[in-house]
């Protein structure tokens, strides 16, 4: 770049546009917002209006009662993430946004599965639950309810395993996440 006045050469060909690119991977955005009326609507409305797709969304309190944390995941193949975060930043109630690096992040999701499990199938289901370190939290004669926590991928894998037994229904919270190390997310 050089000092002012230097005749250092800069050819226009060297210039490259950096932003507006699609990363192609999943992104976890951790968004700290003011706990004020309409904040979630503003964010949801912004995504709808700009045509951004939310994969998962989780909202909850933080250690500071004036603030809430919204964790949302979206597909970087579909959207230029920098445009998403820049639009979010324009909302006055949005305090901070972190696009969490997967390697530096601990992410967890809670999921509940109601699975058909009668007769011989029950033992097999219980084995799978064990492997995934899940918990059976309700049992009836023909079905069980299983609690699983883990990354989005783990929950996906569990779903694939139990689906053949007869998945009656499923509820997932969407991931929440926090950055590794001592610094705040």
């Amino acid at each position: 770049m050089g000092e002012p006045g230097t005749k250092e050469l800069l050819t226009l060909e060297e210039l490259e546009a950096s932003s507006g690119v699609r990363t192609g991977r999943k992104h976890i955005l951790s968004i700290l917002v003011e706990n004020k009326p309409g904040v979630l609507t503003r964010i949801a409305g912004l995504f709808a209006r700009r045509g951004f797709n939310i994969d998962t969304l989780a909202v909850g309190p933080t250690d500071d009662e004036r603030l809430s944390r919204i964790t949302l995941t979206l597909d970087g193949a579909m959207h230029p993430i920098d445009q998403v975060t820049k639009q979010l930043h324009k909302l006055v109630n949005v305090i901070k946004i972190r696009d969490l690096e997967p390697a530096d992040t601990v992410a967890r999701e809670l999921a509940l599965f109601k699975v058909t499990a009668d007769g011989g199938a029950r033992g097999e289901v219980m084995q799978i639950v064990e492997i995934f370190r899940g918990k059976i939290i309700d049992v009836t004669r023909r079905s069980v309810i299983i609690e699983v926590t883990g990354t989005w991928e783990k929950v996906e894998a569990f779903e694939r395993m139990v689906r053949p037994f007869g998945l009656v229904e499923m509820a997932r919270t969407g991931e929440i996440a926090i950055s590794r190390g001592r610094g705040e997310t």
Binding site: P4, L10, A17, S19, G45, L46, D82, Q83, K90
Partner: protein, 558 residues
């Protein structure tokens, strides 16, 4: 202790508000009671939409925050269009809406509408008051948000019972918004890089938008341009940011811009965008827009950078802060002025070959000539407002704006009915200037009730109706792109605009003679009070040149 509404008036005074536009109703009765003793000028409009657009016109002409008051329900929904318009064109606006009592909220009470929800996508920010004590801080935060960063509309929805509650009012000293800290200072490294790129560019163009006007940075832009022979073009919203006519002025760019401006963008190697957002009406076919160019993009709103066109050198900040530093760095880089000689030769060639032109006639008044006549009649020395359509494009092409804040129009949203109330607001903001409006026979009817406001308040707007009896721009598109199958574009011959003017207590004139047009227009401008001039122009005339929708700029037609 005082009522919250009286505190609102104190806050308005503290913000330096001297005039507001509005309309009372049930839910804002307490507010209107407070106006009685407040000593703030309130202009009673005839429709809330008129109030909203008047506040916009006021803001655009003065650079100050426009203020509009409306009641709950229909009052609030009537300002939805002005709010959207202000959002699209980055107009600083604060809107106060009444709301039903808190115990009625959510019960579908009389004149209840979810104003907060309805307006959420069309405001920069909004406040739903929940406790009367919040009101003073909300007012100051609203003004702060409306006028700083990228300006925009802010709404405060106030339930009627909360506005009449007594509060312990303490003047609000400072506004602190942790989630709102617009970047104003451009990054020095980026500015230096941009200066070096510009100094090395052989075919540069400065492309300025409404952001330059909002930033009050017209002089700084001009300074950069004339520090060398840098060619300048402006968007519809940016007209006046660079003094036209000028040797370095290429004219407006975009769909109905000059061929010179559009061709220059097409062949440019470096485009410096300042306060402009690469709207589809500018770029035409995005993939073929300025294919040879690298882009420096200066904008106070980081989200605009690389939204439509990836920027090579983004600079986030206030143009007024950045442009002088860019000029200094550019000078320091020691650009070789001679490098632009070939570029100017090319530009001069386009200028000579493709000036704006139309086939004039002595038998009738051509609409383009009507604009030229008004330019001559005023000497260009007036505020010119417009509505939306062909007359707007011809005004932009043939009226040359030498200064910023002289051209008041609805660009992003393209709101018919904007013109008359906006001109009214501009006239209120600048009583020492002549305020003219060029409107269409269709547009003017969308808010013609505001003529009563003009007459009642002695607001001397000079309204020139370009009357072709058509929804001209829609007709043009039907002619060009829909096989001339005219569908509901003939506006017929009513109302009689002269009688309409007279019914509202204004002066009405009808002009049909080209030979006396300039003199007659002068007469209209010299007539005191509001004047409505019905100018009969050629019925079917197309706005050219034109980038057909979805086409590339280099393929302009007409």
């Amino acid at each position: 202790m005082m009522r919250a509404v009286d505190a609102v008036m104190e806050c308005l005074a503290a913000e330096g508000v001297d005039v507001v536009f509005g309309y009372p109703g049930g839910a804002n009765l307490p507010t209107y009671d407070a106006f009685v003793d407040a000593g703030i000028r309130h202009v009673l409009v005839r429709h809330e939409a008129g109030g909203g657009h008047a506040a916009e016109g006021y803001a655009k002409a003065s650079g100050r925050v426009g203020v509009v008051f409306a009641t709950s329900g229909p009052g609030a929904t009537n300002i939805v269009t002005p709010l959207t318009d202000a959002m699209m064109d980055s107009v600083p606006l604060v809107a106060f809406t009444g709301q039903v009592r808190t115990d009625l909220l959510g019960t579908d009470g009389f004149q209840e509408a979810d104003t907060f929800g309805i307006t959420m996508p069309i405001v920069k920010h909004s406040f739903m008051i929940q406790h009367p004590g919040e009101i003073p801080r909300a007012v100051h935060e609203a003004f702060h948000i409306a006028r700083t960063g990228r300006p925009g509309p802010v709404l405060i929805d106030m339930p009627t019972d909360l506005t009449r509650a007594e509060i312990d009012y303490q003047p609000v000293g400072d506004v602190r918004l942790p989630g709102y800290q617009p970047t104003t200072e451009g990054n020095q490294k980026q500015i230096r890089l941009a200066a070096k790129a510009l100094a090395n560019a052989r075919r540069p163009v400065l492309y300025a938008g409404g952001g330059v006007i909002n930033a009050n940075a017209a002089a700084e832009l001009t300074e950069l341009a004339v520090s060398d022979r840098l060619p300048v073009t402006c968007t519809l919203m940016g007209l006046g940011a660079f003094p036209a006519p000028h040797a370095q002025w290429l004219g407006m760019l975009g769909m109905h811009g000059t061929r010179t401006a559009n061709y220059a963008m097409d062949e440019a190697d470096l485009i410096v965008a300042v306060g402009a957002r690469f709207d589809d009406r500018i770029t035409g076919k995005l993939s073929e827009f300025a294919p040879r160019a690298k882009f420096v993009h200066i904008d106070v709103d980081p989200a605009e950078i690389s939204k439509n066109i990836p920027a090579h050198i983004p600079i986030v900040g206030d143009a007024k802060n950045i442009l002088p530093r860019l000029t200094a760095e550019y000078r320091a880089a020691g650009p070789d002025a001679e490098r632009l000689a070939g570029w100017w030769e090319r530009i001069e060639g386009w200028r000579a070959q493709h000036p704006l032109r139309y086939e004039d006639s002595d038998a009738e008044i051509k609409p383009q000539y009507m604009v030229e006549a008004l330019y001559e009649a005023t000497g260009g020395d007036c505020i010119l407002a417009s509505d939306v359509g062909q007359h707007q494009m011809w005004s932009a092409q043939y009226f040359h704006f030498a200064k910023p804040r002289r051209w008041i129009n609805s660009g992003g949203l393209g709101t018919m009915g904007f013109g008359l109330p906006a001109a009214m607001g501009a006239a209120v903001a600048c009583p020492d200037e002549t305020t003219c409006l060029i409107t269409g026979d269709a547009s003017v009817q969308m808010n013609s009730q505001e003529l009563a406001t003009c007459t009642e308040n002695g607001i001397p707007v000079k309204v020139f109706i370009m009357n072709n009896g058509y929804l001209g721009m829609v007709r043009q598109w039907q002619e060009l792109f829909w096989d001339r199958r005219y569908s509901h574009v003939d506006m017929g011959s009513w109302p009689d605009f002269v009688k309409l003017a007279e019914a509202y207590g204004a002066t009405g004139m009808r002009l049909t003679d080209k030979s006396t047009l300039v003199a007659d227009m002068r007469k209209a401008i010299e007539t005191p009070g509001p004047v409505v001039v019905d100018v009969r122009v050629t019925r079917e005339e197309n706005t050219y040149p034109m980038i057909a929708p979805g086409a590339a700029a280099r393929d302009m037609v007409g």
